[in-house]
Structures are given as structure tokens and as C-alpha cells.
Chain length 672, copies 2
């Protein structure tokens, strides 16, 4: 006798046949009532984009019978005026419109007497998944986790990586379609994709043998890739349909200037053929990492992401940075992750987005506490250094087995390039193979420590709540240590995951919890504070504003033999923005001077040069223009117009002062 | 049958009569053996200054019989070579010399058959002390604390202030004697005294009636004090004899240029007459605070210290800063004290050095945890602001009782000067007197909150272990808040109280626990990091290098309506220096550029001017010259000469770079 409401894109008359057998059976047996609405369509037509909460709420009250329908609808409308009043008349109007449109589009579906469906509920993971994925992960996904025996779980608390690939959430309404004819192969779409769902490969033509009919490819344009084929491929079942790849695409289709080299198209029809194309694409060989020019985005983006299909929001502004780390250094990265969004989508039981390359190498990842993540990551570094030291101390004991030259190379290998890393790995393999055959405690110990002769890349990752606030004492302690670790601050300027509280990264006037009248003080300048050490590499980046500066910063940070910190502008749903076009916000933040781009390299200082490079140009738009693009700022004019006015004025003064100050620092002549 | 060893300055034949009756009686009854040595004399003659540990250790082994005497002495000599080897040959030689000298000066005293003493053990506190002091504090001092009933203790955990005055430790061997004829009355001796044991007053001649014969006075030299008398008086029973007042005295006695306007003389003869002089001095009236020119040290030092006779080390480099706070703002100060030396000598049960002026006003003091002191102090501020707000909101309800003008004045009083504070206090008194007679809940509530209409001065005090390390996350959070609090960092550059561990304030190459090879990285620039906010008053001071700059900084910090932080160079016994001449170390630190003097005032920034004033001159001595004055640096040449050499080189580079950087910042032109 229950009532069942479904949001689905199917006409009411066809809807029954889109339900799987088990569901039809249950509805018939349980004598249910069934309603259907195309909530997305209603929301979009009411001007609300993809926000369906109001639509679904109206449906609930219209059919649940908790209140007489007319009274319920009147109450909803009152509540809309009250709730959204602060956000502006436009938002109120849209929501009221949505209520009316909802009622017109909510349909009851008569339940037939017999099951007629041709399919049943899909298995939660593909049939060809690994055993653990089928027996544990899949069962948890299917809400049957309570039935798994304890013995099926790993005894040491570790959890296999590379498992989001089996989840295939199919949540996109539309996915991007590649126009191979006009694409300039710049790589930007790959760089900005939050979920690593759009990828490119270059490969020899011969690999196209057996390609599905609809698999697209074209000639590679890069001079270094003459004779090779080029493909951009979307993972249709993992893409969230955010559309950021389309936003960033710099190409205009001459035949229709509203279109780009990527065009969003309905997922439903594309799912099946593109899934096949994706499988084929995955089997194409990876391009040799050591032959890529990593400072060029189109080259660098050929590196396979080792962070994919996470549970982050569609259009997330944090994940592209993490993905970049895993592309550049993931095969040797060890990541300490602070609590926050990145720890949730980074280790979202039962699946993990961190994955492995074709050699089984990928990031090792762990999450400690909010307040000690930097220290936790420093511990990685100290342990790695100690293991390496042990290996170096043991090596001379094997002078009989290995040449002096070989041992010297193992100890002093230059591992600053992908080539250098590859060569050292080969040496360590030779070492380990030999050690396997020696039966002594020293050989066993060296065998354990040998892998540490290959450089590891330690990354300490977290949000602004961690870096500016709760974990700042530790972060400061770690950057003061002089140790070679890399800190990545995913700066959303607010506690995103815990519900939108103000952090010290929140900018002046932004509304947040504990700052309902707008944050009364300016954003803490974490970068400037880190620069005070003179021994810390510091960069401030925004990939949506200057992607090659972002890439440069990540390469420099890792190359610097000491602590590095990258402060990364991360647009966020908490900003109150349209998440399908977040990059224009990044650009406006930089163009207004609200967000500065710079890099501070202590190696320059040692060489007697100015360590600071200001990558931002003079602000060219008023900061108010940027602020008015985001609800977090705009809202204040509704609730506290006087404060908002004053704040905006002060924000402009702050932005100008800050730019001038950085310029003064960057212009300092050295060696005088 | 026990053995009793006494360190005393009396010849062996006179010694017996210097023992009190009770002690003589016990020695006779218990058939004790008695030994005496003038350890101070032996130590001094062996070149070890006041360090008597080796002397006393030798005595112990010479008479205790735990080892055959010759073997014990040989072992001690071996142990000296081993223990002090790192500190240099000179130290070893001195200690070996001390061993021989000790044996020559250790005497057995034959115990007579009868008690002959003319006096007995003094009561632990004076007979005329307050009840609580006699019944609780005195008993604890006399080691009879276990016998005090629980009911004698305060129920709410508070403890009376102003109780060190009853302790009278009489630990000085010598105390300063004032030469009133040559003294220029500059006030510097008062400023540097760590224990507030040397003080000055100006007063009308009439108050000299009844002065003890030896009470010194002269004509006041300051133009504003024409016709008045001037006295500098020492508290003979509280002075520790450190001699810093003599070090700072700028006057040379023309009749003997080795002498100054203060000369150290044996305590024993001076104790009794000077105690009488001190009592007389205390009864002289205080000069009107509101008439002092506080930027002049000789004037400012007329302010009565409200922090006196603490248990800090003789010559302590921290306490003069705390004393200064209590002189300037103590009658309205509320202090949050981080764990560390300052929390120990600041609340050293059973006595407290924080005290009260003639009106019963003095600092309220509390110590929370190491890790939350800044937040704890911020809590004071928030509570005070709230209470004031409550008072302001209630005042208009009493429009019948008070004139509109009076209420407006209470709310808007200018309290930036001592005069303003005094006037507001008078207004609050009128208010409270009237409220007492009104029987309404509002009147009662306003009565409770009324005192908060007088401005309070919130001070958050701690060492570098707190400010740079353990409490830094909170310190940063508090200075980011924009709230009106004052933070004082007593920077000894090492965890002094917990036993000498390195902190992030420890300078490059300084030896400390966890940095036995010298600290490998440079000192954290806490001030520069605080300046990054642009809204925090920041000063770096060293009273031994530029006392008027110190004074200016404290006045400006308190006047700034926002967070202020003062980073105060605090010489320390942990530096391995002669604590009777610590000021030359402060001077050398500044002259070498190792310690910068500066003030950063955000009010200047608001006015479009450069906020930074660099008070340090170009370094004029090599930093090595400063470093070699202190064992913490010098020691490294014994243990790690190569590292020491490299560090010294780097230290010089750092010092020069840092000075240039600050100069560049201070020279920036504004308004262009």
C-alpha cells in the first residue's frame, strides 16, 4: 500500500517498462502506488538548472497526504519566500515557478497486473571484477554489507586501491562528445576534468585493429608525435556530466559558433557504444612517460591519472589538482590526507579512487586526523629517509656481489627526471633479484629497504580548514623542518565538508557559518607567512585562470629539495556558483586581484636572485565584479546592505594594497 | 649520628654561634657531626663565579664515606673532564681547581655540649602578616603544608595576590648600594631589575619626617620635579643580588672609575638597616600616575611595579618585561599566562608575585594550558566586551537617576590616557554608589557589569615554546581575530623551563635538546609572519639594547585597538652566559643583526603610510662575535667544529639578508 515516487526522464506511458523485473514484481505484490516526474526537465525549465530539491519536495507533499494538498502547496510557497528571500528575488521567482510546473508534470502510473520487464537490477559491479571487489566491495555497494563475514575483510586495515572503476555510477544526464575534426589537442579538457573521465592517448595506427565502429581517432598534431594517432575518449559510465571540459575548450566550431570541440549530448544513447569505446581505449598502450615534455599541458596530460572516478561533486574544483599530482608523481607518491572533502572522496569506503598504473604502481594513501595531517606526512618522510639510509649503509656489505660502480650508482643516482627514476628502478630490480638468492640477515634487511633507493614523493594534502586553521600549527612546524615534503592546500575558502563554516581562508565579506554577516576580516595570507621562512617553496595557483602556471608550480614544488606548499584556488559548490562554468570564477578571481598567482623559489635566493615571481598581472576588473558572481558575497546585500557596501569598498582597497605589496617584493633587485 | 654540612660565609670558629637555638639543640641531642665550608668563596676564587655545585659535591664525597676519600676525589676529577670537556678547557681547569680548593677549605666544627645561641629560627613570614598569609602561606613555606586543614583553603580556587612580599628569602650575597651624589636619576636600574627590588620615588620633603638615619635622598633632577626629593631604595631581603642594575648604570664615579652610581656590597651588614629604610620607603606616597610622561624612562619607572619578588632566576631576562606591563597597565590588566617559566614564577604556590596598588588594584592572573593560552586570553577579551555591552545596554534604563550627559560620558569616555581612566573610574563609582540603593534586577545586573565600563588591558603572556611551537596555532588564530588583545612573547629561544629543548625560536647553530649538533635551520621569523596580516601591531624589542624602544613598543601595543604582539629578547641562564652581565649579550645580539628591533603599526597603514619602522641600525659587529659570547653556540666548536664553521658562515649570510629585507620593507614609499 505504499507510494513510490520516481524521478525519471521517461514519458509516463513508457515508464513501467523501464523498471527492472524485481521492482515491478514488488510493486505488484505490495499493491503500491506509483508516481513519476521528470524533475530535471521541470527544474531546468523553471530556470533552476539541476537543482531538483524544490521539485521533489512539492511532489512529496502533493502525494504523501500529510497535509491537505492545497494547504501544503501554500505552505511550500511561503517557505520558499522565507528561505530564499536572502538569495534574491530571482531565486524566489524560479522556485515558485518550479512549484507550479511540478504539479503540471507529476503523473500517476497505473500498475499493471503482470511483470513485463525485459531486464533486471544490474549486478553492483561487473561480473569480471576481482574476487574482493565482487565479494566485499560490490556487496557493500548493494547495501548488503552487514551480511559480509568479518573474515572477508583485510586483517591489517589496508584497503585495495583502484576500485572506483568497478562502481560505474552512471549519474550523468549528458556527457561530452568529441569533435575530432576541429579539436586542437591542447589537453585542457583533460586537465580540468574533476573525475579523470576524459582522457587522451597517442599511439601507433596498428593498435586500431579491432576498434569498435564508433571509436574516434585522428592524426596527432604535435610535431613530436608525427605519424601517430590521437584519441580523446570519455568514460561514459563514470562521467558526472559536469561540463567543465566543455567550458574550458578553446575551440569554436565554425559551422556553429555556439559549439566547441566538445559538445554535451544525452547520456542514455551514448552509454552503451561509448562504454565499448572506453574499454578499447584503456587497452591502448600508454605513451612512454620518460619521453613527454612535462611543461607542456598537451604532453603532460598524456600521463595516466592515478586518481579517477571519485565521489567528489560534479565540477569539483579540488580534484583536478590531486589528479595532477597523481599524473606527475603518482607512481611514487605517498599521500597524507587531512580530514575534509578530500579525505571523504579520497577514501570513500567501499571504493578508492586512487589507482595503479600498468606496472601496479600508484599512490599509497592514508588519512590521519584533522589536526595532525602535516605531522603525519612528515612521519612518512622521516621513515622513508631512514629506510633509504639503512639501504645505503648495507649496500657496501655486498661488494662481492655487485661492482663498486653499480653500488655507487644505486646510492648517487640522479632521479630528477622520469628517465632517472626509470633507470634507478631497473637497478633496484637487479639488486633485489640477486638479494633473493642470498641467505643472510643483511640481505633480507636490504631486500626490505631496497625499494626506498627509488625516490618517493611525499604529498600532504588537505583543505583550508586544515591548512589555515585546525592543522596550521603542525603545517607550520613541518615547513619549518626543512624536510622534503610537498603540501597541497585545496583552498575552497570555507569548511566545505563539515557544512560551510568560515575558516581563516574565508575572504572578507563572504557569508559562512560563524560569519553570517560576512567574514569581518581579510583572508589570512598563508603564502606570505610561509615565505617568511625563506626556505619554503611557495606557490599560489588557480588552474582555471592560468593552467600552465599551475603545472609549473607542481613541477617546481616537487623538484625543490625541501618543504613546498602549493595553495590552490578551488571553486566549490559552497561558493554558490553554477558548477558547470566554474572556471570563469577562477579567472575573475585572478583578473580582479582577489587571488594572486605567484611562485617563491628558495633556490633562487640561494643563487642571489629574487625568489618571488609574481605571475598575476595588474588587476583589470573591480573586485566587486568577481564578488557579485558568487552567492556567498552577493547574499550579504540582501541581509546587511550597509555592511556589504563597506566590505566591498575595503575589499577593493585590500586587493590593490596586496597586489602592490607583492609587486614591490617581486621587483626587489638582488645582488646590490 | 648524622653528618651536617653547611655552606656559610662564617669562619669555622664563629660558625656555631650563627646557628639558631633549635638547630644547636638538635645537633647536640642527635650527636651530629658538623662541617662548614664557604663554598661561594671557594667557587669565586676558583674562577667559577657563583656556581657551587662542584664544591658541594666534593664536600659530600669527602665526608659521606660512600667511597674511600681518595678514590672519590679521583672519580670526581675524571667526571669533571668527561662532563665539562665539551664546554672547553677553561671550564675543566676551573672545576679541577675548585676540587683542590674545596678540600683545603672544608672544616669540621666540634659540637659543644650546650646551646649558646642568642636567636632562634625566624618565623616564615612576618608577625604582622595577614591571617591567610600566616595560617596558610607561611605554614606551606615552613614545610608544614600537610598539616593545614582543607577548610583553610579558598573554596573557589582563587589565591590571594601580593604575597611574595611576605616571603623575604634573603638569598643575596651582595646587594646594590646607591650613590645618591653621582646618580643621574635615569631610571634604567629600575627598568632592568628582574625582581622589582630597586625602586625610586619623588616626594615632598615633608615626608622625610621620621626617616631612618641611613635613609638616602637627594634633590630630584627632573625639571618637572623641581623642589621634590628623590630616593632610590633597594628591598634588601628580596633582592637576589644579580647585579644587572649595576651593569646598566651609565654613571662612572670620577673618584674611582671602576665604580658606578650603584655598587654591590655585602648583604649581611646591610640587611637590617636597609630593611628599615625599605619599610619607610614603601610608606612614602606614590607619585600621581596621571602626571607622568610615560615615554621617558625616568618618569615611567616611577610607576609602581605590580609584579615583585618572583621566584625567577637571579638576573632573569623575562621578568623586566612583565614588570613593565604591570607598571604601565597593571591596575587594569588581566593576564593569561602560558605554561613555562613565567607560569611557574608567576604563580609559584604558596606565594604570588602579582600584587596590588594602594587602591587594591592589580593584575588578575591565570594559567591555562601550554597549547591554548592565546585562545584562553581571547576568552577574557570576549567576556569583558560582553559585560561592557550589557552595561551599555542597561544604562539607558536609568535615565531618571542619571543625566543624559553622564550616561553618554560613561559610554563614550576617552580612556586612552591615565587621566581618562581615572575620570571614568570616578564616574563608575558614582554609578555604583547610586545603584546600590536601587532594588531592581536591572540595577543589580548593572552593578555587576559596571566595572567593565573601565577599559581593561588583556595580556597574553608566554615563552617561545608556547608562541612559536605548541601554542602557535592558537596564537595565529587569535591575532587573526582582529580583537584587542596584547601578546607578549618572552623569547629565550629555547624551552627554558622544561629543560632546554630546541623550539622554532632557537637560532641556527644553537645547541639544545633535540638539537645536539646545533639547530640546523634558522629561527622562525614570528614577527614577519604576524605582519602578513597587516592588521596586527608587531614589535621586536630587547630592553638591554634599546630600552626606550621597548617602552615605546609596549605603549603602542596597548594603544592599538586590535591584536598586538611583542616579541621580547629574553636572555636566559640556558644560553650559557654570566647572568650578572646579561645586557651586553642583548646589545651584541642587536649590534650584530642577530636580533632586529622594529615596530609595525597598522594604524600607519590605514593612514597610507609605511607601517614598518626599523629601529635597528646596520649590523656593526660580525654575528660570530655575538655567538662566541654564549656557550650555547660556542660549545659546538668542541663537538662538531666543521658543522659549527658552516653554521657560523650561514648565520652571517642570514643576518645580512634579513637586515636587507627588513630595510627594503621599511623603505617602501607609500602613496605613490
Amino acid at each position: 500500500g505504499g507510494t513510490f515516487l520516481v524521478n525519471a526522464p521517461f514519458p509516463k506511458d513508457e515508464f513501467w517498462d523501464h523498471l527492472p523485473k524485481t521492482m515491478q514484481k514488488q510493486l505488484i505484490e505490495k499493491k503500491g502506488k506509483l508516481f513519476v516526474i521528470d524533475a530535471q526537465k521541470v527544474a531546468e525549465e523553471s530556470g533552476m538548472g539541476r537543482r531538483i530539491n524544490t521539485v521533489m519536495q512539492v511532489c512529496f507533499f502533493a502525494i504523501a497526504g500529510v497535509l491537505p494538498k492545497d494547504e501544503a502547496i501554500a505552505q511550500i510557497k511561503n517557505s520558499i519566500i522565507k528561505t530564499y528571500g536572502k538569495k534574491g528575488d530571482e531565486v524566489v521567482k524560479m522556485n515558485l515557478q518550479a512549484v507550479d510546473n511540478t504539479l503540471a508534470n507529476l503523473h500517476e502510473v497505473k500498475i499493471p497486473n503482470a511483470v513485463s520487464s525485459k531486464f533486471d537490477i544490474h549486478s553492483p559491479v561487473p561480473e569480471n571484477s576481482p574476487e574482493f571487489v565482487k565479494k566485499v566491495i560490490g556487496e557493500i555497494i548493494a547495501f548488503r554489507g552487514d551480511d559480509i563475514p568479518v573474515s572477508a575483510f583485510p586483517q591489517d586495515g589496508t584497503w585495495p586501491t583502484a576500485t572506483t572503476q568497478y562502481e560505474r555510477r552512471n549519474i550523468a544526464l549528458e556527457i561530452p562528445v568529441w569533435n575530432d575534426e576541429i579539436c586542437i589537442q591542447c589537453g585542457k579538457c583533460m586537465m580540468v576534468c574533476p573525475h579523470a573521465c576524459i582522457r587522451s592517448k597517442v599511439y601507433d595506427e596498428k593498435y586500431l585493429d579491432g576498434a569498435p565502429d564508433t571509436f574516434k581517432h585522428t592524426d596527432a598534431r604535435d610535431k613530436e608525435w608525427k605519424e601517430l594517432k590521437y584519441t580523446i575518449q570519455v568514460a561514459p559510465e563514470d562521467c558526472t556530466g559536469c561540463g567543465v571540459c566543455v567550458e574550458v575548450c578553446p575551440v569554436k566550431d565554425k559551422s556553429d559558433v555556439s559549439k566547441k570541440a566538445l559538445v554535451m549530448a544525452p547520456h542514455m544513447q551514448l552509454r552503451e557504444p561509448e562504454a565499448k569505446n572506453w574499454d578499447f581505449f584503456l587497452k591502448l598502450p600508454e605513451y612512454d612517460r620518460s619521453k613527454l615534455t612535462l611543461t607542456k599541458i598537451q604532453h603532460q596530460q598524456m600521463q595516466r591519472p592515478l586518481f579517477e572516478f571519485s565521489g567528489a561533486c560534479a565540477g569539483c574544483g579540488e580534484t583536478p589538482y590531486i589528479k595532477l599530482v597523481t599524473q606527475l608523481f603518482g607512481d611514487r607518491a605517498i599521500i597524507a590526507n587531512a580530514t575534509g572533502c578530500s579525505s571523504i572522496y579520497g577514501g570513500n569506503l567501499p571504493t578508492t579512487p586512487y589507482c595503479k598504473d600498468e606496472n601496479g604502481r600508484g599512490p599509497a594513501w592514508n588519512n590521519s586526523l584533522f589536526e595532525d595531517n602535516a605531522e603525519f606526512g612528515l612521519g612518512y618522510r622521516l621513515a622513508i629517509d631512514k629506510q633509504k639510509e639503512i639501504a645505503i649503509n648495507l649496500l657496501p656489505l655486498f661488494a662481492k656481489e655487485f661492482s663498486e660502480e653499480f653500488i655507487a650508482k644505486l646510492i648517487n643516482a640522479d632521479q630528477k627526471t622520469e628517465q632517472g627514476i626509470a633507470e634507478q628502478r631497473a637497478r633496484v630490480k637487479v639488486l633485489k633479484d640477486k638479494l633473493e638468492s642470498i641467505n643472510s640477515p643483511e640481505a633480507k634487511r636490504l631486500l626490505e629497504a631496497a625499494d626506498y633507493l627509488v625516490d618517493k614523493s611525499v604529498w600532504i594534502i588537505g583543505g583550508d580548514g586544515w591548512a589555515y586553521d585546525i592543522g596550521y600549527g603542525g603545517l607550520d612546524h613541518v615547513i619549518a623542518s626543512g624536510k622534503n615534503v610537498n603540501l597541497l592546500v585545496l583552498d575552497t575558502e570555507v569548511y566545505s565538508n563539515t557544512g560551510g563554516q568560515a575558516s581563516k581562508a574565508s575572504p572578507l565579506s563572504a557569508i559562512a557559518k560563524f560569519a553570517t554577516n560576512g567574514r569581518p576580516v581579510a583572508k589570512k595570507d598563508l603564502g606570505l607567512m610561509a615565505m617568511a621562512y625563506g626556505t619554503v617553496y611557495v606557490a599560489s595557483v588557480a588552474f582555471g585562470a592560468k593552467d600552465d602556471q599551475t603545472l609549473k608550480a607542481f613541477l617546481e614544488a616537487e623538484a625543490y629539495n625541501g618543504p613546498s606548499i602549493i595553495i590552490a584556488y578551488s571553486h566549490c559548490i559552497a561558493h554558490g556558483i553554477d558548477m558547470s562554468t566554474p572556471l570563469k570564477h577562477q579567472k575573475a578571481a585572478v583578473d580582479s586581484g582577489q587571488w594572486l598567482l605567484y611562485r617563491y623559489n628558495p633556490d633562487f635566493l640561494k643563487a642571489g636572485k629574487n625568489p618571488l615571481t609574481l605571475d598575476s598581472k595588474e588587476p583589470k576588473i573591480p573586485v566587486a565584479e568577481y564578488m557579485n558572481m558568487e552567492t556567498r558575497f552577493k547574499m550579504l546585500f540582501k541581509t546587511q546592505p550597509e555592511i556589504a557596501k563597506e566590505n566591498y569598498k575595503q575589499a577593493q582597497i585590500n586587493v590593490e594594497n596586496r597586489y602592490k605589496y607583492y609587486k614591490y617584493l617581486a621587483e626587489r633587485k638582488f645582488g646590490e
